[in-house]
């Protein structure tokens, strides 16, 4: 089968690889119909995540047709079209029992801080991902969800990560009716977080980024007030001025380690990789939220450390909340939101690219060319 193949920072290609096999009684083999490139895949692509090995196949946002199931998978059958949450979760460990499906303790040998994630380095378990024609899906009796007949697969594939991550970012903000919410990052997750903030009753939603076409998209899609941080002198002062000197009630960090906006953070975090990425959006979030406010973090950083003003977290009495989205927990609610027209996920998709052109798709997304918001890879087997 053909699959994406990582060759080093900024280098990927298509390779012929062996077909995946059932390796565990709860496995399934899925023929991929759609697979997104996620903004967090770019952290891998840029060489920022430790233990990203040459030859690995990325891809944690995918849906597809069940081709084969292990003996303990009784809830799926061959031919089911399923969306597969990016978390690999057993559903029965200490953490899964509590609904923390992004923190499963039975899916990642290499690290304990995060559960297994498809195609996301060996730090997240060493599983090949869905940017391929076929993929092995562990715990297939728990994670995959059959796509409702009425749902467009383009909507379904975005329910594997982008929508639940954006939704959980807003949920963790503990937004109360009328709250002012500031979102850092106008990538797909940031845009979705801004959209979902309204579902929780936000009274005002502000989005910061430096890419104008994405800000314009967020302005109309969320909808939100949008600002290019390169056009304001000081993001924090700007936020204070626009909130009567107090700061936002809730700040959402939806960028992660690939951020731009501060020379030292870029030098130490992005270029020299002495930090787990550039944490300037986290810095802004902490300093622009009001005292007693909430900072919700869904941006992906590496496992080492970052320069952030933790003293201000203490002095301002902030609540920090963060996690990988618990996709399976959120899916029933999000499927309802799509059905009821509250969320239109597929509107984020700007590029549908044949799997064979994966190198071009990565470059377009990474370099923010051609107005790219969300690229989806489509294997020729579909």
């Amino acid at each position: 089968m053909r699959a994406m193949d990582y060759r080093g920072p900024y280098r990927v290609r298509i390779e012929e690889k062996p077909m995946p096999k059932i390796l565990h009684p709860r496995d399934a083999i899925v023929r991929v119909t759609r697979s997104c490139i996620c903004g967090s895949d770019l952290h891998l692509y840029h060489g920022m995540v430790p233990d990203t090995r040459i030859g690995m196949t990325f891809g944690h946002e995918f849906c597809g047709i069940v081709e084969e199931v292990g003996p303990e998978v009784t809830n799926l059958k061959r031919g089911d079209h399923v969306l597969v949450p990016f978390n690999i979760a057993c559903g029965q460990c200490h953490f899964c029992k509590q609904g923390l499906f992004g923190n499963c303790h039975e899916s990642n040998a290499q690290a304990t801080a995060v559960g297994g994630i498809f195609g996301y380095s060996h730090t997240a378990g060493g599983y090949d991902g869905g940017q391929a024609e076929y993929v092995r899906v562990p715990y297939a009796d728990f994670g995959p969800t059959v796509i409702p007949d009425w749902m467009d697969p383009d909507d379904a594939v975005l329910l594997t990560d982008v929508v639940p991550t954006g939704y959980q970012a807003a949920e963790m903000g503990g937004i109360k009716k009328g709250d002012t919410v500031v979102v850092f990052g106008a990538g797909p997750v940031g845009i979705m977080a801004a959209r979902c903030a309204w579902l929780f009753g936000a009274g005002r939603v502000i989005v910061f980024d430096h890419v104008d076409y994405r800000l314009e998209f967020a302005r109309t899609y969320a909808p939100a007030e949008v600002y290019n941080f390169k056009e304001v002198d000081d993001v924090v002062v700007f936020m204070k001025k626009t909130t009567d000197g107090l700061g936002a009630d809730v700040a959402i960090e939806a960028v992660g380690g690939d951020a731009e906006g501060n020379f030292l953070q870029t030098l130490f975090g992005t270029k020299l990789k002495l930090e787990a990425g550039n944490a300037i959006p986290l810095h802004w979030a902490i300093n622009s939220v009001k005292k007693g406010g909430v900072v919700s973090i869904v941006g992906v950083y590496g496992p080492t450390g970052n320069m952030i003003p933790i003293g201000n977290v203490v002095n301002k009495g902030l609540t920090l909340r963060a996690n990988q989205a618990s996709v399976k927990r959120l899916l029933p609610r999000l499927i309802d939101h799509v059905r009821d027209g509250h969320i239109n996920p597929k509107a984020l998709i700007t590029h549908k690219v044949p799997l064979e052109d994966v190198a071009d798709a990565y470059h377009i997304f990474s370099a923010k060319l051609d107005g790219c918001i969300k690229p989806v890879l489509v294997p020729s087997t579909h």
């Binding site: 060759r7 030859g55 057993c90 029992k97 040998a109 496992p303």
Partner: protein
Amino acid sequence: MDALSTERKPLVDTSAIPGWGVDADPENDPTYPYRDRSKDDGLLFNWQRPPIQETDVEILQSIEHKTRPAVVGTSTPPSGLSGMIRRLAFRWSESNWLHWLLLMGADRINVVEGVAQDLSRGKVPNIPAEMGVRAEWQHNKKGLATKVAVLTAVSAGLFLLLRGSKPKPFEAQRKRVTPPEVHEAD
């Protein structure tokens, strides 16, 4: 020293502590709603484990794990020099920077190993294509031209620099050490 037991032994008789638990508030839960704390059994590794995946692929394991998780990813097992460094890295915990720095170092070495592996199979990697040069040409000709110009200038500069620092030919050196002419005294 043995690891501390996590079993809930009655280390302290809480009934003897005045006021124990009087301010416990179930509403005080910053993890709501993404964590259902009613399902928290305490610090007990007591869940019914999934069947354990048998594998002959080398799996590196965090030393913070009590046991190997039931399922494992079998992609790209450690190999070569990078594999040796990765194995070394897993002697330290996830909270130790050395663990991660070694892994990052192994990743960089692995890139070179990947090129060598391609060449050993008779395949010359098309690096521009792998970096999406076609998309750059299609959507950002100006940027591509700038990159090519910078690359050319840097290459030319390096070439000239190296050329300038070359040892001079033997004849030229010889001239320099030729002793000054000696004029006989009148």
